[in-house]
Amino acid sequence: MRADDERYFARLEERLDEAFEVAGTAKAQGKDPKPEIEIPVARDMADRVENILGIDGVAERVRELEGEMSREEAALELVTDFVEGTVGDYDSRAGKIEGAVRTAVALLTEGVVAAPIEGIDRVELLENDDGTEFINVYYAGPIRSAGGTAQALSVLVADYARALLGIDEYHARTEEVERYAEEIALYDRETGLQYTPKDEEAKFIAENIPIMLDGEATGDEEVSGFRDLERVDTNSARGGMCLVAAEGIALKAPKIQRYTRDLEEVDWPWLQDLIDGTIGKDGGDGEEEGGGDDAGEGDGGDDGTTDGNADEASGDDAADPAGPPRPKPSRKFLRDLIAGRPVFTHPSEAGGFRLRYGRARNHGFATAGVHPATMHLVDDFLATGTQIKTERPGKAAGVVPVDSIEGPTVKLANGEVRRIDDPEEALAVRNGVEEILDLGEYLVNYGEFVENNHPLAPASYVYEWWVQEFAAAGADVQALADDPNVDLERPEPGAALEWAEAYDCPLHPAYTYLWHDVSVADVEALAEAVAGGEVVEGVLAIEHTERVARALETLLVEHAATPDALRIPTWRPLARSLGVDDGLRKEWTPEDLPREAREWDGGDDAVKAVNAVAPFAVRERAPVRIGNRMGRPEKSESRDLSPAVHTLFPINEAGGPQRDVAEAARTMDDRGRRGHLELEVADRACPDCGTHTYRSACPDCGTHTEPHYECGDCGTVCEPDEAGRVECPRCEWEVTAATRQEVDLNDAYRSALESVGERESAFEILKGVQGLTSTNKTPEPIEKGILRAKNGVTSFKDGTVRYDMTDLPVTSVRPEELDVTADHFRELGYETDIDGDPLRHDDQLVELKVQDVVLSDGAAEHMLRTADFVDDLLEQFYDLPRFYEVNERDDLVGELVFGMAPHTSAATVGRVIGFTSAAVGYAHPYFHAAKRRNCFHPATTIAYLEEGERREISIEAFVESRLGDPETDDFGTLVQELDGDVRVPSIDERGNGTTRSVTAVSKHPSQDHFVRIRTRSGRTIRVTPDHTMLRVADGEIRRTPARELAVGDRVPAAHSGEREQSTDASAASADGGVDVDEIVEAELVESGVEYTYNITVSDTHRLSANELWVEQCDGDEDCVMLLMDGLLNFSKTFLPNQRGGKMDAPLVMSSRIDPSEIDDEAHNMDIVRRYPLEFYEATREMADPEVVEDRIKLGEDTLGTDDEYRGFDHTHDTTDIAMGPDLSAYKTLGDMMEKMNAQLELARKLRAVDETDVAERVIEYHFLPDIIGNLRAFSRQETRCLDCGEKYRRMPLSGDCRECGGRVNLTVHEGSVSKYVDTAIEVAERFDCRPYTKQRLYVLEDALESIFEDDTNKQSGIADFM
């Protein structure tokens, strides 16, 4: 590591240490559940392993071994240490083995997942039938997140330890062997395995394995034979065991064998039989299918004939020189186009985004550089961070503003054609734009092609290519660059022409027009027109004809138009390209053109023709256009809860739906006492005076209290064992400290106010929680909540305050654009700019350090409030000096935050260096991490469509049946991408029904708890607490985490009878509305399952689950927390008490990023200043990206070197990383109709967009499914009592509610069925959709009329009265 980096990390750690010291002092006061800071710092993987395991000495040993051997070998090596007792403090043999096994798993999973702690429950010694001892490893479900290799290795490690300790092998009884086979098959049926061993194989493993694999029951299904075995405590399938046996041992046998060979003590000769497949294994090995998965549109075969044809066409092109090389257009990204999210470019359509290669400084994985002027011109639909679905190379990308690429070209109402390179100008002319002829360039970095393994697409001819050709042609580029009179990038026409001729170099791209878009005939006509024009005051005026005007527009030649003439100011390069000299003499006739030029691409591509007549070479200016459309809008918002949680203090139901602590404190009980609640909270005892209390500090003497574990049955007071488990020695069950006790909340509340010296008026409301979900139910001091409420921040489940932001990468920044100064930067240790010059000015570009982050304005605001809260907390609660003392946001610069990648258990320390107005979180790409998914309980019934019919199925069955060849991410999640053929009913943000395709299914290790929600009409659903649910408030559908839903909240209801939601007649309005249901119960329940499931729904991310509309998860969002807040307030004690509850919590913190230990996708980012000439040439060949991999440095090339933290060069600069609109129009426009009209209006303006197709798709994917679905829903609907909410599958014959006699009404009314018909027909007519589409609408309109109108009482037309 370079000294510079060392200094940087030292600085971070110095501030970290400072914070630790303060926080440590505060914590030591004993007012918190634990008297010490609960987030251990990990400098590297070794530290993380040690911290996650909590075994001292592991880190040191791991570091020693790391340099010498592989991780697997290190894991085995560590076994010796554990056995000898040099590492870990275990007395028992079982403990030693357990430590070794856990360490091995932690090591192989890099210490970021919970598998080592949660996946291995325990190791125990049991007795064989012959009286010898054997080892039993007890696995739990989360072992899945370890992956097959680590699972298998854990067995090997256990065996190695066994051998070293001289314990005998496990001899399975016959019935146990049979049980394994049955159980694995059962588990596979029930849950699914990546690889299913045949019965023979499973038995073979069971017979031979020297360690007994055991585990806890997962799932309800029981085996039918081999039940009630003595050594197996359950009759259900033991998921962890099945995984280890099947996906570990059976699947990874070859890998394991490699290690057994090296170990003398361990001999697993039977592995060979497994590998050879002599155990009745069939050919269908699960792994083999992995290879054939083409990235990108390689799997686009399902796109129908369009693709097929295009495929052939491009195939022909490649073989036959009669056309230029082009990648085949892919229409896939257009699927599921929905109303309100515009298309910017139809697939590979001229006039759309032009592919330019390069990486801007705010560019990285899955991002696309767009000119800010374009963002404005597309009516602000694009903003920094807006996600777009793209044609290639990936599927989706986040938009970043880059103004060093070419901007859009527009035709103004006055006939002028102008390129716009300035966002201000774009805003100024926006209203006068008649047509957007070209959207400008679209920057994609080479690494993106590598990451997606997408063949290179022919590059645009751009300055960085030309200049290399120019140099290769013999020009002294350096001299010209140094010449103040020459602008190499934007030369004068004269200079450009002179260079082209003098050096025999292709014409400069600035004057290379898009000849490939016009036909040979156009060129002939244009040449004639130019030759027939005249030059007036240096401006060429030619006759205005339709053909010539269109040709100039297509070529993107800037000009002005009058009814008679077209005036071209910069005409000489155009004329020369056309074979017309400066005297306007045309020196050729069409017959002079060689046949090849005339017939190139059927005469539709004039590049060859121009090259034939021009005195110099003319390259293809922009051969590849990238189709795209809008995906999700950008996001930056605090994790605000509703009802918010200010304090993790339980108040049962007493606080009302708002969970108002003050209200609860005022509530009078039967005996007239205020605020006396019977709460389930921890029983803690004071070590000094023996007082029992729920508080963390003794109310009598102030000493820190410890949980008091008293067996609820026999009263034995128990102590936690070395692994932290508390088991009653007599009753042999787990004991917790939680008890029901009467708490004087009123007193607690008042004294808390007093102790921090605040009055009730300091805050509006203080919200508590209904109940605690942690094992021992230790409440948080109310004081903390009071101060949170005072400062307007709320708490997450673990006591921290968080803010979510869409990730965007940035590698170099200017202090200026971050609203800070060079002074700030120098204080932070930045000394030089990217060129090595001393940092003096605010506008100098400096390379971002790897853990420095940029906060969005909203995040900064939130962090300021958090800082105030923390300071108040220190001062008023802990009696310590304030730590942050922030007055304005500049004071936040240099402060540390935690970045949490979702679903991980490790936080990363980041340092604030500035702010941006874009609604995103910019940080170094290495800082950003994986995706988050929240999930459903396996038994959740989801609705989907099959052959147009709504079907319902459990999400478990749905996902499992589709996990054909899943990828496993670092967090144990299995993800399978789908091709979008499966569709589900969904609703948009206005509650309008629609159908969307499922793009992926995934399976996740379960969290400990679910939130169970029950509604008035009896719907229930269990989701993970952070799962985003939908709530209806003020006529809008809002997103809210499940755990924040409260009794009384209204949630949108879906109907099982139908795929679409219905509308309550009263709520029916032009823009829809949904039927709602009210929550009558919302509580945390223990999960009891091993996995949760999720499906990814395109665009809306919403689906119907258990007849409720819910959000699926959303991905790609990091959150940030303020460092001190985390240190002071985070406690594991608050975390829900079951498996997976430790996810998304900062169990460990990395103080420095090791680039080798991060997700691979960031490594595939190119970090060079210029792509070589060979690269551009390779793109013409449409070569695979690997071909030039040696010539372009990627992040991965610097891993492990001194340069791994620096040298992230970029090819393109941008003036400001937050240009363009701050928010997408999608977020600022009103209802769906408004958005759709804007979308269609934009489609009209864009040359690259076929507005009819957009209208067709909106009708096809949005309106028609809605109308058809609602119509179907109508004719098979349920009814519901308006008074008591009772629902009826069919209308009661009595007409009234059978329960309460109340009024029963429909759940789907005419309003919701017919709301879109008129609009859809209007759109179909206006945009001249296909008769097929129109007829479908008219047929539907007739059907509606037939159902909803009385034939005998038809409304009379006006004609009847005339």
Binding site: F1274, R1289, R1290, Q1335
Partner: protein, 548 residues
Amino acid sequence: MPLESNARIVSELASRGYNAEREAVTLLAGAEDVAAALEAAVEAAPDDALRITTDHVRAALDGHGTAPSADAPSGSGAPSGSPPTPSDRSSASPDQPPVQTAEPGRSPVETRGSGAGGAEADDPAADAAVGGSAHGHAAAAHDRDPSWRELEVGNDMTGHSTGTGEYADFVRTFRDRYERLSGLLRGRVNHRPAEAIADMPGGSDAAMIGLVNDVRSTKSGHWLIELEDTTGTFPALVMKDKGLADVVDEILMDECLAIEGTLADDAGILFADSLHFPDVPRTRVTGGADRHVQAALISDVHVGSEEFVADAWSRFTDWLHTPEAAPVEYLLIAGDMVEGVGVYPDQDEELDVVDIYEQYELFAEYLKEVPGDTEIVMIPGNHDAVRLAEPQPGFSEEIREIMDVHDARIVSNPATVSVEGVEVLMYHGVSLDEVIAELPEEKASYDEPHKAMFQLLKKRHVAPQFGGHTRVAPEERDYLVIEDVPDVFHTGHVHKLGWGKYHDVLAVNSGCWQAQTDFQKSVNIDPDAGYAPILDLDTLEMTVRKFT
């Protein structure tokens, strides 16, 4: 009981120029199907015979492999008296008209001719063109006398869709269903309203008629059936050892049932002893034309689909012009004239004709191939351009105008058509999918669609189950109730050919004119395309002709 009077037989024979032996007439009168037997006897008689003898008659009847029934001529009484479950259908076999060319329920491709003198076209080898005129009616194809014709349509709601999609409309529809179907059951049990039963003392006998609100099996393997009438609901428990399992299997939601049994001690539940469906009575007067005239029953033409079998259609219409087809004066089409638009996703890619109006125009062209003086009745199906919710009214004016050839009658789905005294219930058959899905394989399957139709007859409702597959448009009455027992029940939709008799009602599912589609291939349905069941209206015998 439609005792053909001997006098009528004699006069009929006389009209054909025969005298008859007294015994021969008695024999004929005792035949199951007098008209058919008579016809056969006439044929069996040598050309030069002037007098029909017992030998002729015997030869005719034996020749059909069916002995004259010793029982009542109507043949309605299954002598065994066994319950009318479809599994008992085999006993219906002897009830079949003697001139049936194939046993009911057998797939036509498997059938072999019975060797009778009747039209014998379902042998795959026997092309319609060479079918010959076996009837001896060598009259010219167009020598028809329309004045004989009688065609009346009942239960047609076209132009009378008065529902406006209100809650009350739904309630009215279901009430009407209950009123009319419970009426059929009231004579059989002593119905007490749900409310009243709830007040009865435990242990008393009780019976209730209601729409099925819920059916589920209990943990212990019994069944709980909740019936609803206009006063409320009441649960009935069917014990697994009651021998009613077979019956419970057939129950669909929202059909009308009667349950008799004993109230539990706490009067909270009724222990069922017996279950009754409205059902079709066993003894019934069947209609019949007074002359030899036939109707072709087809459906699912699917013009506009790439899979429309135009060749087969043309062979069919060509045949209609042959002398053999002279009696075919009626053509009944049970829905899906065209393939439609937007019926399933991306349908346009499989359409030959993408424009819905052009589809109907093309259909009209194909219809023109049918002899001009054929009387045509059409109902819409789920592919047609009308609402999908049932009852479906006949086509809109615009489409009627397109299909104005032959002055066809376009009526609603379902509708009853009375053709020269034969009541034909036409229903497209969307509910068959559901019946097949819900009922056990042996009671209803795609290979034997008529068995599913038997169920509908038994329930006296063409689409009982609400909330599932079938869509309902509420109207002032429930047009889907089978109030009057038809002589023939004609459906389509499932594209499988199948027919059989249920309590003397001929149930026909008429195959289709569309070859296997990709979708059908994917779900392994092999459609019966290009068959035309031909119904003798005077005898209610059916012949299936194959045109592929």
